[in-house]
């Protein structure tokens, strides 16, 4: 007999894969990548064009998917909790089934045209795919945590938008402001550290460094390349990413275990 987690994953996956929004998201990314390859040219050019889509769209879609996935399933979760299921089991079953298509769609939608157009530069595809998966996981977990904390759907969506805006735009704005305001001080390493601590910036930096674009950024770019290439830089980046994945997941699990349905 199948384990309960598998049963929950299977049915959640079936539900997600039949959703027109999931199909639209995957199909849209696939079409965009194919068009960029068809008209844009090389793998490097396509990645530069796709990078902003991945950095802005992927976390936003994942956040909204997480919020709506939980807030629209509240009564169903109630029914599931009335079955002989542990809360923890139900959380992992529901979250796993919800998040899996979200994690796999960007790599597949970008990877299939990449294969079809035989673009080469596989390390670029790998970086972009892993980056999109990490951003999807963080977004989905944070979205679930927000939906569990704020019962009113519009409220949770508002918080999700605020989080996305802070992560993708405000944070960079703050770093830019700090860079200008404190330009007379030796703050390069502090700013580089700040860049590594934001997952969106981390994915951006990791991809750009593979494109040798850091050379265009002058002294800062060289410092960035040195820092990100060092053992300390890699450890810090990996640690920050692991924490970024674990913290929203922990928040979501904690919220689910404590929730009064």
């Amino acid at each position: 007999m199948k384990g309960t987690l598998w049963v929950l994953w299977e049915f959640q996956l079936r539900n997600a894969l039949r959703s027109r929004w999931v199909l639209l998201y995957g199909g849209g990314l696939l079409l965009l990548t194919a068009l960029l390859f068809r008209f844009g040219g090389t793998a490097e050019q396509v990645v530069v064009s796709l990078l902003n889509v991945v950095l802005l769209l992927v976390p936003l879609v994942a956040l909204l998917y997480g919020v709506l996935g939980i807030s629209s399933a509240r009564e169903f979760l109630e029914l599931m909790l009335a079955q002989p299921l542990q809360r923890q089991e139900l959380f992992w079953g529901t979250f796993g089934g919800m998040a899996l298509p979200l994690l796999l769609l960007p790599p597949l939608s970008i990877g299939i045209p990449w294969l079809v157009f035989a673009a080469g530069r596989w390390e670029l595809l790998l970086t972009l795919s892993l980056g999109s998966m990490v951003l999807s996981l963080i977004g989905a977990a944070a979205g679930v945590a927000f939906a569990l904390r704020w019962e009113e759907r519009l409220h949770a969506i508002g918080v999700a938008f605020g989080f996305w805006f802070a992560l993708t735009i405000l944070y960079d704005g703050f770093i830019l402001w700090a860079g200008i305001a404190l330009r007379d001080y030796p703050i390069e390493h502090g700013l580089l550290l700040a860049l590594v601590l934001n997952p969106v910036d981390l994915v951006r930096v990791a991809t750009l460094l593979q494109l040798d674009a850091a050379a265009l950024l002058g002294y800062t770019g060289a410092a960035l390349e040195r820092f990100a290439g060092s053992t300390l830089g890699i450890l810090l980046a990996a640690g920050a990413l692991a924490l970024w994945c674990a913290f929203p997941l922990w928040l979501a699990l904690r919220g689910f275990l404590r929730k009064d349905f």
């Binding site: 007999m1 199948k2 049915f11 039949r18 959703s19 109630e78 029914l79 909790l81 009064d260």
Partner: protein, 234 residues
């Protein structure tokens, strides 16, 4: 046996349940009545472990409900507003619950026939009406032949024929010794379904009385009149 001892629950500043103590014997049938926001649904959700009481204890067949989820194997539940994943089909939802409960035989078949759901089974949930979803919810609650049925407004949204079918099924469950706990605003259903009522007001039990006694005290043939008479006495 369902036993609640001094159960309290607060949502923010609102105290929803205030020291509820209640004992429901196996095989009995009890309706929890009261105005809106009196704590009926919260009380049912506490019995199911969906909502955690702030204090007090709940035991089902002697097992404290916080210890494990296994006690829910004995329980069938019909929520007030049934909601299922929109892209699944009714048959898949039934299969999901069967797999979770470890049921393999076609236990749902007689109920699907009773509720005339055969033609709806392979339609996506989003294409089903509210009444059909309620019938599906009834099938899910009944199909595992639970020893306890907890029903929140079970006949709300059902057409008269489906409501009659559900009431017949519930009476059948009672004949085989099932414990029935329900809330309803349809007072005409009460004498048909239960033998006892508990009246809640602002999270407190105002009275608990048997249905025949309510009728006897009021000299009325209508349950609503009997209930009003009893409330005036309180």
């Amino acid at each position: 046996m369902i036993e609640l001892t001094n159960v309290t629950k607060r949502f923010g500043a609102t105290e929803v349940l205030r020291g509820i103590s209640l004992s429901i014997a196996p095989g009995s049938a009890l309706a929890i009545l009261g105005p809106n926001a009196s704590g009926k649904t919260t009380l049912l959700k506490c019995m199911l472990g969906l909502t955690r009481p702030d204090s007090g204890e709940i035991r089902i067949n002697g097992t404290p409900i916080g210890a494990s989820a296994e006690y829910r194997r004995w329980i069938g539940y019909m929520p007030q507003h049934p909601h299922f994943p929109e892209n699944l089909r009714a048959a898949e939802v039934i299969e999901l619950v069967k797999q979770i409960r470890g049921l393999s035989a076609p236990v749902e078949a007689p109920y699907i026939e009773q509720f005339r759901l055969t033609s709806e089974l392979h339609k996506p949930i989003r294409a089903l009406s509210g009444g059909t979803r309620q019938k599906l919810s009834a099938v899910l609650a009944l199909m595992s032949s639970p020893s306890i049925l907890i029903l929140d407004e079970p006949t709300a949204g059902l057409d008269p024929l489906a409501a009659h079918t559900l009431k017949t099924e519930l009476q059948r469950c009672r004949q085989r010794g099932c414990t029935l706990v329900l809330t309803t605003h349809v007072l005409n259903d009460i004498p048909e379904l239960v033998t006892e009522v508990v009246f809640l007001l602002e999270g407190r039990i105002v009275f608990r009385e048997s249905v025949p006694q309510l009728f006897a005290e009021s000299n009325s043939r209508h349950f609503s009149e009997a209930l009003v008479h009893r409330l005036q006495r309180s």
